[in-house]
């Protein structure tokens, strides 16, 4: 049993890694990247003023594509201090990329944790309500989760500026300035939407569990409501929550990008966004830097859950 889990995981890991390489080098398949980069460098060195005579088409350069994949693999496995091209010069990638990564991942992990705590608290509070009075929190949840993330991030930012203008109280640092980092607000905003999603899935799963027979039995035995909720139902919904957590993680990553853009944080995502187009190996590396730890985390969690729930074997 444990071996099949292991081989399955290894295969999955291999396939996703191949997928990352295939996607990371995709620009080389579609564009004549080498000649385009040459032109860009000439423009930025002011050697070329007029570009009207240049034209190009979308192409399929299969050779360049695979050559670039092999190049990228070489760059990643050699572990050399790589360089990236930006605004007319070559710059060392590390430690800048690494620092941005650490900072962004701190935001991400802390806010996911905050989201989890908030969502669990909210779910339990909602579940303590009688079932006919859960409509209002659910309607609120529906509206909040329907709004796009950038709307919520912008609204919070503007609201804080507005409060500052009215009362001269700056609740949080809004944008990161020299030396000082806005920490609290980004974490709170970033945790808002994942919290809503976790809350939604937990609530669904709690309500499903509530209808099951064991809950009725527990009630019949005279256990009180909060005890059934906290111990029995909660334990059983962890599994469902975990299954949704991958989606929530991805969602939080998308939020992170928007957050970094709006709050003007020069983090990991904005780094990929700013330099990924010209240096496609940054995209590939960035994907791996997200993929490796999260895959490890998800696999370990899956393994632990499987062990404690005794669901190894099937599937």
């Amino acid at each position: 049993m444990a071996r099949s889990f292991f081989t399955k995981t290894a295969l999955q890991f291999l396939l996703t890694s191949i997928g990352i390489f295939l996607i990371g080098s995709l620009p080389y398949l579609l564009f004549n990247m080498k000649s385009q980069l040459e032109v860009l460098k000439m423009i930025e060195r002011n050697e070329l003023n007029n570009t009207l005579f240049l034209s190009d088409n979308i192409v399929t350069n299969v050779d360049a594509y695979f050559a670039n994949i092999i190049d990228t693999i070489g760059i990643i496995f050699s572990g050399n201090a790589t360089q990236y091209y930006a605004s007319g010069g070559q710059w060392p990638l590390f430690p800048k990329f690494w620092e941005a990564y650490i900072q962004s991942m701190q935001y991400l992990v802390v806010s996911l944790f905050v989201a989890l705590v908030f969502a669990i608290l909210l779910t339990i509070l909602t579940m303590l309500l009688p079932s006919n009075k859960r409509g209002i929190p659910k309607a609120f949840l529906f509206i909040m989760e329907s709004l796009p993330d950038i709307f919520i991030i912008l609204i919070t930012q503007i609201a804080i500026i507005w409060i500052y203008k009215k009362t001269e109280i700056l609740l949080f640092n809004i944008t990161s300035g020299f030396g000082e980092q806005a920490i609290l607000l980004p974490v709170l905003v970033l945790s808002l939407l994942p919290a809503l999603y976790i809350y939604k899935y937990l609530l669904l799963s709690f309500e499903d569990e509530e209808k099951l027979l064991y809950v009725e039995l527990a009630r019949g035995k005279g256990l009180n409501r909060s005890r059934i909720l906290l111990i029995h139902i909660f334990r059983n919904s962890i599994f469902t929550l975990f299954n949704h957590f991958k989606g929530i993680f991805l969602f939080a990553l998308a939020n992170l990008l928007m957050l970094e853009v709006i709050f003007d944080i020069s983090g990991f995502m904005t780094f990929i966004f700013e330099h990924g187009v010209l240096n496609n190996e940054i995209v590939t590396m960035g994907l791996f830097m997200i993929f490796l730890p999260s895959f490890l985390f998800f696999t370990i969690m899956q393994w632990l859950l499987n062990k404690s729930f005794n669901v190894m074997g099937d599937s």
Binding site: Q12, F31, Q36, E145, I158, I161, I262, G276
Partner: protein
């Protein structure tokens, strides 16, 4: 079908909102001559009261842009492009992923697993990043070398294709679920051809699900549009205007403007003013938010069972008392 839909208030409200927006947008461009923007506001005495951009007020419900154009009207004009494009992209996604899903359904399971493993890559980075990396070279970085049609069509194709792998796998999973049902086996035994079984027995189960995914995809595409707008990508075509010429060298300072008042383009164009004139970015973002809310309302309404049920009148059982006596019975031989 129609009757069932009409009983769902969320579906009606959402669909009505989007329909009104689209109709209003088309009518506005067709009938109304856009008013000449005024850069200055005058009071009764002809004195200048305010300079554009004007904050939200009675004449400018959502404020105005830097030229003094009414934002409300700009958004109305752009609605047809944004919503129209997102519907086209979502439709393209659906058609391609349906074909892909059906092909996957016919393929052996081992190959399917292989593709599913590859597609798992999409779970480790937001779609916006992938889309950006593929679109930006054409629209921004190497923008000098691609023609205008390419700049419009290529991003649309990327937006369509980027989610085809994941959606195809979803369609294939749904097909698999239906194929496991017993009546499919019976249909096979009765000699139904592949196409017949699909058309007569699988499609009725698949179609409502595809409809829901389609509407969800419209919302997803809108979100990606909004994100791309924030990343300064213009989807609806870019109009490069010359702002000023350098006197000594003759070099032109140019800025990109959206050609069509398309909402994502408005976000892209006005993001620089987010702190000084917040309404200029809030207006298009709110337009996005409301449209996405309407779409999610439709999805929610379609997913949940009929919310409006005619309440059955409780008829009380009539209290009738019977008296039974010897004459009520008759003896039979």
């Amino acid at each position: 079908m129609m009757k069932k839909l009409l009983r769902k208030p969320m579906v009606i409200a959402g669909a009505l909102f989007i329909l009104l927006l689209l109709v209003g947008s088309f009518l506005y461009s067709a009938l109304v001559e856009p008013p000449q923007p005024e850069k200055m506001l005058y009071d009764g005495n002809g004195d200048v009261v305010a300079l554009a951009p004007f904050p939200p007020s009675a004449t400018f419900p959502l404020g105005s842009d830097i030229d003094g154009n009414n934002f409300m009207l700009k958004l109305l004009e752009g609605a047809k492009f944004t919503i129209g494009l997102s519907i086209i992209v979502a439709l393209g996604r659906m058609v391609l992923s349906f074909i892909g899903g059906y092909l996957l359904f016919l393929l052996p399971a081992s190959f399917r697993k292989f593709l599913a493993g590859l597609a798992d890559t999409f779970h480790y980075a937001p779609v916006t990043i992938f889309t950006y990396v593929l679109i930006a070279p054409v629209v921004m970085t190497f923008s000098w070398s691609y023609s205008t049609p390419t700049k419009i069509i290529f991003p649309m194709l990327v937006l369509m294709l980027i989610s085809v792998p994941v959606l195809s796998l979803y369609v294939q999973k749904e097909l698999d679920l239906i194929a496991q049902k017993e009546f499919i086996d019976s249909a096979k035994v009765m000699g139904g051809s592949h196409f017949h079984i699909f058309k007569a027995h699988m499609a009725p189960f698949l179609n409502p699900k595809l409809l829901i995914i389609f509407i969800q995809q419209v919302g997803q595409v809108l979100i990606v549009f909004a994100h791309l707008g924030l990343l300064r990508v213009f989807i609806g075509g870019t109009d490069v205007r010359v702002l000023e010429y350098d006197i000594t060298t003759g070099e032109a300072t140019t800025a990109a403007f959206t050609m069509s008042n398309e909402w994502a383009g408005l976000i892209a164009q006005n993001f620089q003013y987010v702190n000084s004139f917040p309404w200029m970015i809030l207006a298009p973002v709110t337009a996005f938010a409301l449209t996405i809310l309407a779409i999610n309302g439709i999805v929610y309404g379609l997913k949940s069972g009929p919310t409006y049920k005619r309440k059955r009148k409780k008829t009380k059982a009539p209290n009738v008392s019977y008296t039974v006596n010897a004459e009520s019975f008759e003896l039979r031989n």
